[in-house]
Structures are given as structure tokens and as C-alpha cells.
């Protein structure tokens, strides 16, 4: 009996979705699981380099006449910190020699020596002595030095991700880092204020461009610039413009008398401001990265809010006008209620993405001067300190915080709007 149409359709759908599904599972889902795995292991960045056996060849006795012995010692050494499971090496022998004694594990086939060695613990070495006898042919060939040909070694080592023992040491290290709690607060401040600022600016910009005027479409394109430009370009430009000595911003502030000394915007942790006899301690670099976040992502909010506003029915505004509502009242009671859905969605989306953000702060300050967020710290642990296990442990912590946010997102996200 032929399979039903329905089953055939499901099968076809399965094949059509399979590649996408596989790629997402392999590159997204699997790494998250691998993070958990690595976080319970003590893996350093250097462990990824496969340990290689160094084979050094030394000639201990050289023949003077035919029949004399030629002794070659091979020192096989594991100079890495990881065990080698097996070593194989081969070397070409000079012409005109006859093997007398071959070390265990080795054999001479034709004019080549083949050796197979077992495990080599880290920091250990083994010496293999090969005794040969030189014949007349060796002297006819001009007494070639055996060291002229280099031994070729192939090493087999266990995958460090699989072989290293499990440990619980990474998580206490993460939580006992004195910078752990400050880092969480910085992340939270960056996320909340960055998100809020970008949405507020976007709301404002959308109000400006919702009315019709000449050049509006051009301006809409221009307003999207910060968002579509490559992050590496805009981050480097702001670093340059905000430079205390060569930067345009400081030059302008000095020129118009708004500052007495150049302000190191991205490299100073705290900037004291005296206001009405009070000293306010502004976290300068953090404020700057938040402003950058607002600058770079306001177009995102702007685009969504503008699209929503252009879809609002004109009758509502007409009715409000007839009822004598002023500008502010119209905005407050007609525009804003219709925007609430998109604003909430934008806030959740941007909140999660800002929380996940790495590139911007990394390129602006590198996490210095009180701008180290949790993502920067993950990078710092894993690559600057070369401790993958520790980095993965913090990544797991990050993942759990994110899972919390995502639960909130899917619980409260308005239906129908992404």
C-alpha cells in the first residue's frame, strides 16, 4: 500500500528543514551544551594545541672503516603538559648500512626505520638506540651523516575536551572573584540605561519624522546610519573623536570654554562633578558606553516606532482634535497607548540583546575603567587569561541569567509582534 499523502508531505518537510536544523543544532545548541561540559573541566587555551613529540637524533659512533658500527640515538620527548597516547616516527637511513640491533617497537624496512612507541607522559623522554654496521657502499656514498634526514613524527593524543578530568573548581573561582558583583551591577546599569536611552531617542526621532516634509525620506535613511555601519568602524571613530589629546570633541569643549582640561572620556572611571556644593561622582567611561549604545541603536527603535505610528488611523487624531485635546494630551492619550505594545516588545528585545552585547564595549574601552560587563569578563577569562574552563563557567552563569530574561520575554511578549 502506498504511503499516505500526509506522511509523504511530512517527510518532504523534514528533508527541507534538515540542513537548517542541523546547522543551528551544531553551531548554537551543541556549543551551549559544550559550555556546560567545559565549565566542569580545567582546560587552558594552550591545551588545544595538540602535544607533539620532539624527536632528536644524535650520532653516538661514526664508522672509520667498513665493518665499523654506526650508532644513532633517537631521543623522543614530550615537552608539553599533556600526555601523549602514542608516537610514531620514521627516518631515512643512509645508504650502505646494515641493521645490527633494532630497538624494541622498531623495524627497518628497506632503507627506512619505522618506530611505534606507546604512551609518553608529560615531561618524559625515551631514548632508542639503533646499531648499524657500515659497509663499503657507505664509504662510497661519501660517509653521509644520518642526521641529514630528519625523523618524521606523528603523535596521537587524547582530545583535551574529553580526556581532562571533571572538576568543580571553576564555579567557586567565578563567584569569589572580587569583581563578580561589581561586574553584574555594571552589566545591569549598561543594559537598563542603554536600552532605555536608545528607545527614548528612537521615540523622539520617530516623532520628528512622522510628519511629512521635503527631504524626510533622505533623513530617514541618514538616521539609520549608526545602525547599519560596521561596529568596528563606528567604535574606532568614536574612540578617535573622544581622545583626550587628539580628539575633536575635547578640542571643541576647550575651544568653547565648556571644559578647562581635556576629559579622558573612555579611560577614566569616575568624573567628579561639583553641583550646588554637592560632589557627584559620575561613572564617566560607563556613561560614555551607554551613550554610544543609545547612539548606535536608536535607529532600531526609531524604525519600529515610525512604522507603527504611520499605521495609526487618522480618525483617532481627528477625533481628539474635535474634542479639543492639546498637543501633549493627544500624544499622552492617543499616540502613546497605541505605541505601548511595540515599546514593550522593543524594550524586551533590546534588553536581551544589550545584555548579550560584546563588540561595542570591547572595541570602545576593552572593559577598562569600570565598563567590564559579564560578556567582556567571559572573554577576559577565556582568552586574555587563557582559561577556557573558567570562561565557560561564567558563560554558564550568563546563560542562566539570560534564560531567566527569556522566560519573562516569552511570558509577557505581546502576541503577534516579534
Amino acid at each position: 500500500m502506498p504511503r499516505s499523502l500526509k506522511a509523504r508531505e511530512a517527510r518532504l518537510a523534514f528533508y527541507m528543514l534538515l540542513p537548517t536544523f542541523l546547522i543551528v543544532v551544531l553551531i548554537v545548541i551543541f556549543p551551549v551544551i559544550a559550555d556546560f561540559w567545559i565549565s566542569f573541566k580545567d582546560i587552558k587555551l594552550g591545551d588545544l594545541r595538540p602535544p607533539r613529540a620532539a624527536v632528536v637524533e644524535r650520532v653516538e659512533a661514526r664508522p672509520r672503516a667498513p665493518g665499523d658500527p654506526l650508532v644513532v640515538a633517537y631521543r623522543v620527548e614530550n615537552r608539553s603538559k599533556n600526555p601523549i597516547q602514542a608516537v610514531r616516527f620514521s627516518d631515512a637511513l643512509p645508504p650502505g648500512v646494515r641493521p645490527v640491533s633494532v630497538p624494541p617497537g622498531c623495524q627497518v624496512t628497506g632503507d627506512r626505520l619505522f618506530c611505534r612507541l606507546g604512551a609518553l607522559p608529560p615531561g618524559t623522554r625515551r631514548v632508542l638506540r639503533l646499531r648499524l654496521e657500515a659497509t663499503a657502499a657507505y664509504f662510497q656514498a661519501g660517509r653521509p651523516n644520518p642526521r641529514r634526514t630528519r625523523p618524521q613524527a606523528v603523535t596521537r593524543a587524547a582530545n583535551p575536551l574529553l580526556s581532562k578530568p571533571f572538576t568543580l573548581a571553576n564555579f567557586p573561582k567565578v563567584f569569589h572573584d572580587p569583581e563578580f558583583w561589581p561586574m553584574l551591577w555594571v552589566t545591569l546599569a549598561y543594559t537598563i540605561f542603554g536600552t532605555g536611552l536608545s528607545i527614548l531617542l528612537g521615540l523622539f526621532a520617530a516623532q520628528l519624522l512622522v510628519v511629512r516634509f521635503a527631504g524626510r525620506n533622505l533623513l530617514r535613511g541618514v538616521f539609520l546610519f549608526p545602525y547599519v555601519a560596521p561596529v568596528i568602524a563606528v567604535a574606532f571613530v568614536w574612540v578617535f573623536l573622544l581622545d583626550p589629546f587628539a580628539g575633536t570633541v575635547n578640542a571643541l569643549l576647550l575651544k568653547y570654554g565648556l571644559a578647562h582640561n581635556p576629559i579622558p572620556f573612555l579611560s577614566q572611571r569616575v568624573w567628579p562633578v561639583h553641583l550646588l556644593g554637592l560632589e557627584l561622582r559620575i561613572p564617566l567611561a560607563l556613561t560614555m558606553v551607554i551613550l554610544f549604545e543609545g547612539w548606535r541603536y536608536f535607529p532600531f527603535a526609531f524604525l519600529f516606532i515610525l512604522a507603527r505610528m504611520q499605521a495609526m488611523p487618522a480618525e483617532l487624531f481627528e477625533a481628539a482634535r474635535v474634542d479639543g485635546a492639546g498637543v501633549w494630551a493627544t500624544f499622552r492619550f492617543v499616540t502613546l497607548p497605541q505605541l505601548l505594545g511595540i515599546l514593550a516588545t522593543l524594550f524586551l528585545l533590546r534588553f536581551i540583546w544589550t545584555f548579550n552585547k560584546f563588540d561595542d564595549i570591547f572595541l570602545l574601552t576593552g572593559g577598562a575603567a569600570g565598563t567590564e560587563t559579564i560578556t567582556i569578563k567571559v572573554y577576559d577569562y577565556a582568552f586574555a587569561r587563557a582559561d577556557l574552563g573558567l570562561g565557560a563557567a561564567l558563560a554558564v552563569v550568563l546563560f542562566f541569567i539570560l534564560a531567566l530574561f527569556l522566560t519573562v520575554y516569552f511570558r509577557y511578549a505581546p502576541k503577534g509582534e516579534v
Binding site: E9, A10, L12, A13, L17, P19, F21, I23, V24, L26, I27, V28, P31, D35, I38, L48, P50, P160, L161, A205, Q207, L219, R220, L224, F225, V228, A229, P230, V231, I232, A233, V234, F236, W238, F240, L241, A246, G247, T248, K255, F300, F304, A307, G326, V327, W328, W353, F358, L363, V378, Y379, A382, L388, G391, A392, A395, L398, L402, L406, Y409
Partner: protein, 395 residues
């Protein structure tokens, strides 16, 4: 009272126009200007008075033309007669006239009521807001361009002067670009980046068309669940994936290769591409495809001959969006690529960001990275804006 409001609004508008114009001229044109208060206040006040008497109507064909013309004439004459002319005054007068007209257009002035003040405040806020946003957005990009054209010493002499030294001659102006493109191998990086972005775009389009079609048209168990799960992965932070991918790709020998990079980009763009195309496919009437199926086409023929030709705009936005993501990507390019022969532009920029390389070159590099994206963006803005709002580009 109405005339007083007119004078006030005009004077404020004049102040705004003169302030922003002279700041722009000083900053972007290198022209030394001083802010005089008298001219903008007098001119703006006068224009405001005229605007209050002859209020422009929205319905009129060229509502601001008379005021703009008057502003132009006064803007030239007034500073001349006061002996403070500086050029550009005509433009300033013209803009002030337009602004005064806009501020008082269709306004209930004689006598004013509460709404008059609200509308006036709103229009003022709009004018200030527009100036603010345009300045804040354009300023860094202009700064990037200028810094890429000026040698370091020249720039350092006066960092507050962002004018382009056109007198230097084209050869000297473009010295930074020559050095970056040739000496620092950016020509090769451009080719690498274009290759990575194009391959990513084509593969993503191919795979997501298949996947999106399956989700949109075919019945199978777990259809909605599957799509949600795919979309969920879009919320995962790149840095969480970075450590395992770095480790595994290193052990597999995939790390320092462009193919490895493309696979990662595929995973980053496929979920949204799938989501965007699925939404679009669902707007195409299924009856069109059924007609094709009844005529004896296979599923794939239907997709190729019916669905795809109808979804060209969606394909364009998805393709552009994917290309842009791949072109701009930084983190994985930075972590994966070690060999200069296969650097993408992002990775090349990091290499350029060192003490030994002058800032002029770095800025020239920044312009080179940015310009292709901007060109694409303006060329296809219509599609791209559709794509951005449909999927919400991650960033």
C-alpha cells in the same frame, strides 16, 4: 500679543539657525566665524513679525517661499549695512525665513490660546530635535572621512577643524587610502569579506527558502514548535558560543579558515531568514501553487516557478540583511582568523589598530569598511527597511 509671539519665535529661530550654521561652518568648513547676537535676533524678529502678519497656510502651493525670499534679501542686506557680513548670510536668512514661517503656520495668533503655546513649543522642539539628530548622526561619519584625508600632524594642529584640505591635491588627500589598500593589503581583505558575505548570503537564501517553504506550506508534526525553537536560538549571546566553537574548531582544524567562519555566519543568519521568508510565503495565496501542482509540477518546480518569482522583494531584503550581517561581523572574524591572507575587513581593522600605524590609515580603513555597506543600503533602502522591520536585525 500675536505679533509679540511672532517676534519672539522668529528671534529664537534666527538664533537656532545662526548658531547651528556657524558651528557647522566652523567645524566642517574650517571657516572661523563668531557668533554675533544682533543679526540673528534682529533678522529673526523681523521675519517673525512679517510671518505673524501674513501667516503661511499649509494648503498654499509654496507656503514658505515669500518668507524665504525675504529672508534671503534681508540676510544679505542687514549684515552688510551693519558691517558684519561674512558670506553665508543669505543662506542663514533664507533658513530663518522658512523656520519663522513654519513656526507660525496656521497658528491661532490673534489672540493666542493654550494650544498656540503647545504647538509653538512642539515646533520649536522639532526644529531643535532635527538639528540635534542630524548633527549627532553625521558628525562621526564626517569626522571619519576628514581624519582619513589629513596627515596626523595636520589634524593634530587643530582637531576642532574638520574641513577637508582640498588645496592639498587629490594625490595627497588619498595617500591614506593608497597605503591601506596596497601596503596593508586591504584590497585582499575586501575580496575576502566580499567572498564570505556573498557565499553566506547565497547559502542562507537557498537553505532558508527550503525551510521557510516547509514551515509555511507543508503539514508536519511539531511545525510551530520547531520555528519557535529556531527563533529562540537568535537570543543566544555570541560570546557564550565563542568558547566551545573556538575549542572545537581548533581541534578540527576549522578555526583559521573562511569556511569555518561561513558556517558560523550561516547559523547566525538562518533563523531570522527562515522567519522572515516564512511570514512572506504565508501572504502568497496557496491557490497559485495548487494550480501549479495540479498542472503536474513537482514541489520544487512550484517553488522555483511560482513562489520565488512572487517573493523577489522578500528575497532581496533577506539577502541584503544577511550580506550586511556577514560583512559587519566582528567577534568571530576576530577570534577565528590568524593568517593575514584570509583576514576579513573587521579582522584587518584590528590589525591596523596599533601604535605603529597612523590614525589616518585606521580612519581610511574605517571608511573602506563602511562605504560598501552604505552604498548597498542607499541603493536598496526600500527593501532593507522592510527586512529590518520584519526580522529586527540583531545587534
Amino acid at each position: 500679543m500675536g505679533y509679540l509671539i511672532g517676534i519672539l519665535a522668529g528671534a529664537l529661530g534666527g538664533g537656532l539657525v545662526y548658531a547651528s550654521l556657524s558651528l557647522s561652518l566652523a567645524l566642517f568648513g574650517g571657516l572661523a566665524t563668531r557668533l554675533g547676537l544682533a543679526v540673528p535676533l534682529l533678522l529673526g524678529g523681523g521675519l517673525g513679525l512679517v510671518a505673524a502678519r501674513f501667516q503661511p497656510k499649509r494648503e498654499a502651493p509654496w507656503p514658505y517661499l515669500p518668507l524665504a525670499a525675504l529672508g534671503l534679501v534681508l540676510g544679505v542686506l542687514l549684515p552688510e549695512s551693519l558691517g558684519v557680513g561674512r558670506g553665508w548670510d543669505g543662506l542663514a536668512g533664507l533658513l530663518t525665513g522658512v523656520l519663522a514661517g513654519y513656526a507660525l503656520r496656521d497658528l491661532k495668533l490673534h489672540p493666542p490660546d493654550r494650544e498656540t503655546w503647545e504647538v509653538l513649543g512642539l515646533r520649536g522642539l522639532r526644529a531643535v530635535g532635527l538639528v540635534f539628530f542630524v548633527f549627532v548622526v553625521v558628525f562621526p561619519f564626517w569626522g571619519m572621512l576628514v581624519a582619513s584625508l589629513k596627515p596626523r600632524a595636520e589634524f593634530l594642529a587643530n582637531p576642532a577643524d574638520l574641513s577637508i584640505p582640498l588645496s592639498a591635491g587629490l594625490g595627497r588627500l588619498l595617500e591614506g587610502y593608497r597605503a591601506v589598500l596596497v601596503d596593508y593589503h586591504f584590497l585582499r581583505y575586501i575580496a575576502n569579506t566580499a567572498y564570505v558575505a556573498t557565499v553566506t548570503m547565497l547559502l542562507t537564501l537557498f537553505l532558508s527558502v527550503l525551510g521557510a517553504y516547509a514551515v509555511a506550506r507543508l503539514e508536519f508534526p511539531g511545525r510551530r514548535w520547531m520555528e519557535r525553537a529556531v527563533l529562540l536560538t537568535y537570543m543566544f549571546p555570541a560570546i557564550v558560543l565563542a568558547i566551545p566553537l573556538y575549542a572545537i574548531f581548533t581541534l578540527l582544524g576549522l578555526r583559521n579558515t573562511l569556511s569555518g567562519l561561513i558556517v558560523v555566519y550561516l547559523a547566525q543568519t538562518l533563523p531570522v531568514a527562515l522567519y522572515m521568508l516564512r511570514s512572506y510565503f504565508e501572504t502568497i495565496p496557496a491557490s497559485l501553487e495548487e494550480a501549479g501542482l495540479i498542472d503536474g509540477c513537482s514541489r520544487f518546480e512550484v517553488i522555483w516557478r511560482v513562489t520565488l518569482p512572487l517573493s523577489l522583494p522578500a528575497l532581496a531584503s533577506v539577502g541584503l540583511y544577511v550580506f550586511m550581517i556577514a560583512w559587519n561581523e566582528f567577534l568571530f572574524a576576530f577570534m577565528f582568523l590568524d593568517s593575514p591572507e584570509i583576514f576579513t575587513l573587521s579582522r584587518g581593522m584590528v590589525a591596523l589598530n596599533s601604535q605603529e600605524v597612523p590614525y589616518q590609515y585606521l580612519m581610511a580603513g574605517a571608511v573602506i569598511v563602511t562605504v560598501p555597506v552604505m552604498l548597498l543600503f542607499f541603493w536598496f533602502e526600500r527593501y532593507l527597511v522592510g527586512g529590518l522591520t520584519a526580522g529586527g536585525v540583531k545587534g
